[in-house]
Assembly symmetry: C2
Homo-oligomer: 454 residues x 2
């Protein structure tokens, strides 16, 4: 550690005042790539702990582990912030198949997060395919009643930024069951939010709106490959029968935590610059991209400040939020507590778009602030960071917006994100060490510049 | 096909003259992502044909297949250009192990391309580790003679562009054996050109310079993980013995081909704009990234022009070069024939850096030309293409430089490239469909703009 700090100091001294920023960024990137911790942390989170479904043992283990690791960094304060969360469990492995005269055709499915179960013996019924909630609403009740509504609108492949394609489809997953239930459907299948054709169902949160419990119908994601097969078979045999069973459901509430650590600011300790990701994940993979990556990158920001002996003017705080995936409980709790304590958050950066090669950031701030931030883009050019745009930030930092905080989101390359998102292959081996580390260095560089210039 | 062309034409008409370029680019990207052929071609090349080592049956099958596919596109001319190549074969699987008292420790190795074999029973000797050719040259002959020289300088992880890290290390692989042989070494092991620590040896070409055949010593790549282990064991036991055997060697010359197709220019048919990659690969994987990707992307450029009914002013020619990997025979033959026929090449674009998300291009041209090209960068912004720099182009288009051709190389994201480069895991499943297609669209867009503006 000491050697790194001395080399860094030498670099700054040699570089002179004019190029101090350049030198700082170079040292952040060098440290992340040569002596980074993010990949080892992620290895532990993914391979030793595994999935971190809200309310699960894994989620609690991740709370304990990340607190312990933050404790080792010599920060000024590390603590747990209690959050009560609802516990939802998948139960026994779900299954569905098309009944045919020559045998059954298996359909890889998984329950959507928050879904109700089927009847214990499952259901067997016809399927009606629609491409959208709007199309569903054109159907009469007798076409829908008692059937499985199959939402099969694919993500739009010609959109360059895959998050746009996701936004254009995810209403089926979130609101499909509620709307289908209103027309008396027995269940819904939703095409997985995946741009590839493969056999993996992708889970994700869904909502029944105000529907009372007894009207809540089971909802499952179906793999893109199975969606294509089911659609083709429905064209040939509109009255085909599908059998479907799942056993998921809520199991009360449990105590959980946001994990928080901070370095006190030397000049404006009362102004907080936040960096974070979410600790919970879905249960099918190990959540390495979503959002183990964002957690370890955020921890790495504070670790690098300590290792390189950078004393921030503002308080730099890392927050690992609990339950981003199904309720945003941690983020809401954090914002509520911040308001209660009258804390001032100057800036909040979220990393929750995967551990892929970073391309830049999107910002939710005013024009004046954006002009200041944009002026730093040349500093990032040697690192091939080029994307500085106004736009969304992230779900967990969102609740801070009302207090006027500048918000930002790391924007990694998005092409492969939905290959893994919420699916069983979101695993450690899908994360490249360098790409993860470059993200951490890019975030650290931005936080440094915000600290220095605001 | 027809429907696509009509939609495209409508797009251009609606867009008006001012935004014609925007509309063209949009159509190239849409077509590549929604109706591309590049991924299917690569599937065939990688999974049906497999590796395409120069002089192998696979290489000949790839010549036949790509010619056949180009024939289907309705180009103005498709032909094979004969190239004589030297045939090198790996022979029986290589092996090496450290002899220890408690048993042997296996070292994953592979012969470097062009290497000589060991003696039929292999060799058993001591190992001397160096970090560079310079360090080797400081050693006296008696330290080296009869031993295996182990070049163990890692790629520099803090360089952002991994090709720079490769350039900084590859001299060990190319010239290590020649220099070690001059000091009487028995063989060389070279640390694989890989930024990860894993068990895969990465092959690649090497040269004996002017050394006569009897002085050529066997050379092998050793996996990064085994390099770390061997180095650690040498620290503890400098006189440890390694056994090493490989059976590779040259097997004469064979006839092979460059595969060429073109669309004749409508205004300046005598001026050629070339786009290409190389058809040969190493034998350990299936060469999907290196350079199956570049081949199918180059073919896709001409296919999209045909599908979208774009009539280029200049002749647009695709060239799939033979034997980039170990001699550049195809590229040299192509340039020689071009000179003999007095052909004028206006521009030549190579894709040989993997099928990853495209970031832009590097150009080898004069300032005036570069200014024109740079002015197009805003057109590429919606596609997150931001890298327009002067610099290298590619090995296969290099020989055209002497006739004043503008040269360019596609620059995809390079972070993962050396995870796969020349190793057994350079396989189809390491290529993401969207990333490959975005590269093809980006290349097509550049070729369109060059055709229109020069």
């Amino acid at each position: 550690m000491k050697r790194v700090a001395i080399l860094f100091l030498m670099g700054v001294l040699i570089g002179g005042a004019q190029s101090t920023d350049e030198q700082y960024l170079k040292n952040f990137y060098n440290t992340a790539l040569l002596n980074g911790e993010s990949y080892e942390w992620l290895d532990y989170m993914s391979n030793h702990i595994g999935s971190r479904l809200t309310g699960s043992v894994g989620a609690q283990m991740a709370v304990d582990y990340t607190k312990e690791e933050l404790d080792k960094l010599g920060l000024d304060k590390v603590w747990l912030q209690p959050v009560t969360v609802k516990k939802w469990v998948r139960g026994a492995k779900e299954y569905a198949y098309i009944k045919t005269e020559t045998g059954n055709t298996n359909l890889p499915i998984c329950a959507l997060g928050g879904s109700s179960p089927t009847l214990p013996l499952g259901i067997t019924t016809e399927v009606i395919e629609v491409k959208s909630i709007d199309e569903l609403k054109t159907l009469t009740r007798d076409r829908v009643e008692g059937r499985i509504v199959f939402f099969n609108r694919p993500m739009q492949a010609d959109l360059i930024q895959t998050f746009e394609a996701y936004s254009g489809c995810v209403d089926q997953r979130v609101h499909g069951a509620e709307e289908a239930a209103k027309l008396g459907a027995a269940a819904v299948f939703v095409r997985s939010m995946n741009l590839r054709i493969d056999d993996l169902p992708h889970t994700g949160t869904m909502s029944y709106g105000d529907l009372p419990e007894e009207r809540r119908i089971p909802a499952a994601a179906i793999s893109t490959s199975a969606a294509e097969i089911l659609s083709a078979m429905l064209s040939a045999t509109p009255d085909l029968q599908v059998h479907f069973k799942q056993s998921c459901g809520y199991r009360g509430k449990v105590d959980s935590y946001n994990v928080i650590g901070e370095i006190k600011g030397s000049e404006k300790p009362e102004e907080i610059i936040l960096v974070g990701g979410h600790l919970d994940s879905w249960d099918l993979g190990d959540g390495s991209h979503d959002d183990g990556a964002g957690c370890v990158q955020s921890m790495e920001v504070l670790r690098m400040f300590k290792v390189l002996d950078y004393k921030p003017k503002h308080t730099i705080r890392v927050v690992l939020f609990m339950n981003e995936e199904s309720g945003l409980d941690g983020a809401l709790k954090y914002a509520e507590e911040a308001e209660r304590k009258n804390e001032k958050h100057l800036f909040a950066l979220e990393s929750d778009a995967g551990g892929f090669t970073p391309r830049g950031f999107s910002f939710d701030c005013n024009d004046e602030q954006f002009n200041v931030i944009s002026s730093w883009s040349t500093l990032f050019k040697p690192y091939l960071i080029h994307y500085f745009e106004k736009g969304g930030s992230g779900a967990d930092v969102g609740p801070l917006k009302k207090e006027g905080t500048m918000l930002a989101g790391l924007r990694p390359d998005s092409q492969r994100y939905f290959d893994y998102h919420h699916a069983a292959n979101d695993r450690f081996d899908a994360v490249n060490k360098r790409e993860l580390e470059l993200g951490a260095a890019t975030m650290t560089s931005l936080i440094y510049l915000v600290d220095k210039n605001f």
